[in-house]
């Protein structure tokens, strides 16, 4: 290995995880050079052989599980005699827990869904643990996912498909996604069907968490009809006027709103101050709202696609197209 970090990076990019592991075991210097690359991307696709993948996932779960249990143990000990600890725990970085050491290097992780599958409790797992941390109640998959997220301050989420209408998304899982994942998402494909005002609030909260969002693809069906709008709400909305700082592309694939007030959409348009590209699929009943939104809140809009998105062709009436385009100020491409 060379002493120049950029060159090490170039070399490490050429190596697979297995080769990197071998290099990490050469000596301390090589270990230090290789570790950031070894832990950079965590996914389980680099080998097509299925058995290997299963084994790797189990092994990864063991690493996270042990780390979790070790931290629990340390916390308990810490409460008992906190001052002693600082002397007895060695100065060497090798005594730190695995994720404390390597978590900050992690840049990509599997999707929350895959992590949950990967971390599902397994029958034999605790037996193969190293330390005296056996004989304890195993944490749930979600607790392990949260533990992992807490130790990865720099991971990125280039793309997240998220559907809240699927059954296996519990409220706790959603909370975890909101807390750790949404603020890092660059591209979000969101499918959701709010059935009442509080579910709509939840949706707004979720979208507000997406502070680094660049591209937003929406399939939203607001399916309740009763109108619970009150004056308070309107005031609140005027107070907070956040704009997504990085959002460049907004795509409304299939969006419907049966509610009378249709409060969600103006709320959405107000956040689109930096949007440059707009894609419109099916937006029954929202055409006028969108046309107003484009005019009032999307000054940077320069590229509009109507009707056809990728391989799907959506029906937009001529009248709808006319409304959307006539209200706009610029010459559209």
């Amino acid at each position: 290995m060379l002493d120049i970090p950029e060159l090490n990076k170039l070399i490490c990019q050429q190596l697979n995880k297995h080769d990197l592991t071998q290099c990490a075991r050469v000596n301390k210097k090589w270990h230090g050079n290789v570790i950031p690359h070894l832990w950079r991307d965590i996914n389980f696709k680099w080998d097509r052989e299925e058995n290997t993948q299963v084994r790797q996932k189990k092994a990864f779960r063991r690493v996270v599980l042990e780390d979790y249990l070790m931290e629990q143990q340390q916390q308990q000990q810490g409460e008992e005699h906190s001052s002693m600890d600082q002397h007895t725990q060695g100065q060497s970085s090798f005594s730190l827990s695995t994720l404390k050491k390597y978590g900050p290097w992690i840049q990509t992780l599997p999707t929350p869904e895959h992590l949950l599958l990967c971390f599902n409790p397994q029958r034999v797992s605790t037996r193969s643990l190293r330390s005296s941390t056996r004989q304890v109640i195993e944490p749930t998959a979600l607790e392990l996912v949260r533990h992992l997220y807490q130790h990865c301050p720099f991971f990125q989420v280039p793309m997240l498909p998220l559907s809240t209408i699927e059954e296996h998304i519990s409220d706790d899982i959603l909370k975890t996604i909101e807390e750790f994942v949404l603020p890092r998402v660059h591209t979000l494909v969101l499918t959701t069907h709010p059935h009442n005002r509080s579910e709509l609030w939840r949706l707004q909260y979720m979208l507000d968490r997406c502070s680094s969002i660049v591209e937003l693809y929406l399939n939203i069906d607001i399916s309740y009809t009763e109108d619970e709008k009150n004056d308070n709400e309107e005031e609140q909305q005027q107070e907070e006027h956040k704009v997504w700082p990085k959002l460049k592309i907004l795509s409304l694939r299939k969006c419907y709103d049966k509610s009378q007030a249709k409060v969600f959409w103006p709320w959405l348009w107000k956040r689109c101050g930096h949007v440059e590209g707009l894609e419109v699929g099916e937006i029954g009943g929202l055409v006028q709202s969108l046309a107003d939104g484009m005019l009032d809140h999307m000054p940077k809009l320069s590229d509009i696609t109507l009707g056809r998105l990728y391989w799907t062709h959506y029906d937009l009436t001529d009248k709808a197209v006319a409304t959307l385009l006539s209200d706009s100020r610029k010459e559209w491409k």
Partner: protein, 159 residues
């Protein structure tokens, strides 16, 4: 147009400007010192042997399209292309190749740098830690406990 380059040990090489410009550093220097090209460009970190080799490489690749973005070299996206000439070119001992990597780095000859790094990566591929230690004559400074711990931490990468 010709450009003259001077190695760290004082040897002077004359090459075509477009050949020398494969080095980002030289290209930038030529822009700055447009008027003053009478004296050779000094390359303080590059010896004559390595410089001759770098020039040989640049001569062969003078007409290649330039790739500016380092990310394009990321092998996970796109493997680095090596033609027969490159393969022939890289048949040198590893000390020479590491010197070449350093030279390519200090002159910023990007394609050669990436070729060299690929070569370096190929050396350690599929080698055990012991083999690597023997090859590079380095000592194992891990305690058995530390080796143990590393083994444990890396289990999820095992093929």
């Amino acid at each position: 147009m010709k450009v003259t380059l001077e190695s760290s040990d004082g040897q002077v090489f004359t090459v075509d400007k477009e050949v020398a410009e494969l080095s980002v550093i030289i290209k930038e220097m030529l822009v700055i010192e447009q008027a003053n090209q009478d004296h050779p460009i000094p390359l303080l970190n590059v010896g004559a042997v390595e410089l001759a080799k770098v020039i040989e490489y640049c001569e062969h690749h003078r007409n290649d399209p330039t790739i500016d973005d380092d990310e394009d070299y990321d092998s996970r996206k796109k493997p680095i292309e090596m033609d027969d000439w490159d393969k022939q070119f890289t048949i040198v001992n590893k000390e020479m190749m590491f010197e070449l990597i350093l030279a390519a780095n200090s002159m910023q000859v990007k394609p050669l740098l990436h070729l060299g790094c690929r070569y370096a990566a190929d050396i350690v591929k599929r080698m055990s830690p012991t083999e690597i230690r023997d090859l590079f004559q380095i000592d194992d400074d891990f305690t058995p406990e530390e080796q143990d711990k590393i083994e444990w931490e890396k289990q999820w990468t095992k093929l």
